[in-house]
């Protein structure tokens, strides 16, 4: 049903730390690897060894140069489904294939109902929807719904593949609907932001901005170095130090 649940029991999502992401693509291929055999399998690659290669990926990392009067910075920017609170990709779906789960807020696609009209991809401002031309249906990030509750995985592994893989710990997972959850606390502490808040989709996923912009950069309160006292210059200083 493409009507949105009035509210969801949980708001599961990701928090992505742009201050820490080095753009290594670990989350990108971990996602691809898990999901190409997972709930929405396969994530088809067209022309995989040719000149017009085009595959289905649920998570992609961009890089940007952000230049302000404070200077410039290169920012690596992972982009995937934000599991919005009011996702128009769901409400525009004519068939009920797209839906938002009332229990955990995950936005999913029921592939069997999808007619491949692509309207949901038009309705998503974030480019989170991926069309599989081979199967003719839309696919998308499932927040690893087949991992986070999976009894066949050790309890500690029941997190999205991208979070488990991330080598710099730039990705976090949890219930953003619970203000006391660790992810919510992290968002509060670090001034996490919504993407395109003006569009009113109320994304669940949050992004933590680079700390250079939030004045959180590590500062070293070092005083300028002064030459050592004059007598004998540096070598004199050495002798004095050794004699002490």
């Amino acid at each position: 049903m493409t009507c949105l649940p009035a509210n969801t029991d949980k708001k599961l999502g990701l928090v992505i730390d742009l201050d820490t992401c080095v753009g290594c693509q670990a989350c990108v291929t971990a996602c691809k690897e898990w999901n190409t055999g997972g709930h929405m399998a396969p994530l088809t690659d067209i022309d995989p060894y040719g000149g017009h290669v085009d595959g289905v990926w649920f998570n992609r990392v961009h890089s940007y140069e952000h230049t302000t009067e404070m200077g410039g910075r290169t920012v690596n920017f992972p982009r995937s489904c934000l599991h919005c609170d009011t996702p128009a990709c769901v409400t525009v779906c004519p068939t009920g294939a797209s839906y938002k789960r009332a229990s955990d807020g995950i936005v999913l696609i029921d592939e069997d109902k999808c007619i491949g009209c692509k309207l949901c991809s038009w309705a998503c401002p974030y480019g989170a929807r991926e069309f599989d031309t081979d199967v003719g249906v839309m696919k998308k990030c499932t927040l690893c719904v087949d991992r986070i509750y999976n009894d066949n995985l050790a309890e500690e592994d029941r997190v999205p593949a991208c979070v488990a893989a991330c080598p710099t710990s730039a990705r976090h997972f949890g219930d953003l609907g619970d203000p006391h959850s660790a992810v919510s606390q992290l968002v509060m502490e670090r001034g996490g932001v919504d993407l395109m808040p003006e569009l009113g989709y109320h994304p669940t996923n949050k992004y933590l901005p680079p700390r250079a912009q939030t004045q959180r950069a590590a500062s070293v309160p070092a005083k300028a170095l002064e030459p050592v006292r004059a007598e004998g210059g540096f070598l004199g200083w050495v002798d004095r130090m050794l004699s002490n």
């Binding site: 049903m1 493409t2 742009l18 990108v28 000149g51 290669v53 085009d54 595959g55 289905v56 990926w57 992609r60 990392v61 961009h62 890089s63 940007y64 140069e65 952000h66 230049t67 302000t68 920012v75 920017f77 982009r79 128009a88 769901v90 409400t91 525009v92 779906c93 004519p94 068939t95 009920g96 294939a97 109902k113 999808c114 007619i115 491949g116 009209c117 692509k118 309207l119 991809s121 038009w122 309705a123 998503c124 401002p125 974030y126 480019g127 991926e130 069309f131 599989d132 199967v135 249906v137 839309m138 993407l195 395109m196 808040p197 003006e198 569009l199 992004y207 901005p209 680079p210 912009q213």
Partner: protein
């Protein structure tokens, strides 16, 4: 947005079809146009044919057309589903109207009701089509107060120009219909100019800054996630050079509005069969012009996802 021919043709054809259907339904049902089997047959056939062709064409856009029937289920939230439902429902009064007005040659009574309902359903369907686009917040050029009226005006315009040609061709010319078609064409022209003017001055609050959450300064794309174009770029990353866009706008104005206005104005003064020829020419020129207009409607629409790709 990528101007896929299937969708460009779909909205142009169904716009004209529903416009014609609505006009026939009201004018026929209330005997403004007298029942005439061949006029009715061709007219209604054309209207429903355009609608059917358009709908069929739109299924060409689907990845799984065999499941298209599922699209009727989500009318409570989805304008696309509503469009599907409305477009199908329209066939019921339209069919009844056809039986009454074309086959039986009746007017008034239940035929008028059917005609009126068909007209209403046609208008509703055009509205739902317009709302599909108008409701898409990621595309500022579409998500505007110009989109829905635009669909209605263009539907009325193309429908009435078509109706005029029909009437002219069957020697049943109506000055009112001719005048109406001329006026709607002028209205369409004006609306399109206003829309372009609005879009050209649009200050879109969504920027690369808000898209990335990086406040202040400039955000410039350094590297895409993948070297080659992906679905998002192919579907939504379409770019048109300003130069080409200006040229196509001129062509649109010429074909969709200026020439039809001249042809229709001339029709006032011309005898049969020249009036009919001019009227039919107006339809053909305008249809071509509207295909260009609709192509531009897509090509000039910029989806927010392109911000991520520095486009």
């Amino acid at each position: 947005m990528h101007p896929a021919f299937s969708v460009v043709f779909f909205t142009t054809a169904t716009g004209a079809g529903y416009g014609l259907l609505a006009l026939l339904g009201v004018l026929g049902g209330f005997q403004v146009i007298a029942p005439d089997f061949w006029l009715g047959f061709v007219g209604l056939g054309l209207a429903l044919g355009l609608i059917a062709a358009g709908l069929l064409s739109s299924t060409g856009h689907l990845g799984r057309p065999e499941r298209a029937w599922r699209a009727f289920s989500q009318w409570r939230s989805s304008w696309l589903s509503r469009e599907g439902v409305a477009s199908v429902i329209t066939f019921i009064p339209a069919g009844l109207f056809g039986i009454g007005w074309v086959s039986l040659g009746h007017t008034g009574g239940w035929v008028a009701i059917a005609g009126f309902l068909a007209a209403c359903a046609a208008v509703v369907t055009v509205c739902t089509t317009g709302m599909i686009y108008a409701s898409l917040r990621p595309i500022a050029q579409w998500h505007s107060r110009y989109t829905l009226p635009g669909y209605l005006i263009f539907s009325a315009m193309t429908g009435s120009v078509l109706l005029n040609a029909l009437l002219q061709a069957f020697g049943a010319a109506s000055m009112a219909v001719l005048a109406f078609s001329l006026l709607t064409t002028l209205a369409g022209w004006g609306w399109k100019l206003a829309t372009w003017r609005y879009n050209d001055r649009l200050e879109i609050p969504t920027t690369a800054n808000t898209a990335t959450g990086l406040a202040g300064g400039t955000v410039r794309s350094l590297e895409w996630p993948h070297t080659e174009e992906n679905y998002l770029l192919k579907e939504m990353g379409f770019r048109i050079a300003r130069k080409h866009s200006a040229r196509l706008r001129q062509i649109t104005q010429l074909l969709a509005f200026a020439l039809p206005v001249l042809l229709l104005a001339a029709t006032f003064a011309l005898p049969w069969p020249f009036a009919a020829i001019f009227s039919v020419l107006a339809v053909m020129v305008q249809f071509a012009g509207m295909l260009v207009e609709r192509w531009l409607f897509f090509a000039e629409a910029k989806h927010t996802v392109t911000l991520y790709y520095g486009r």
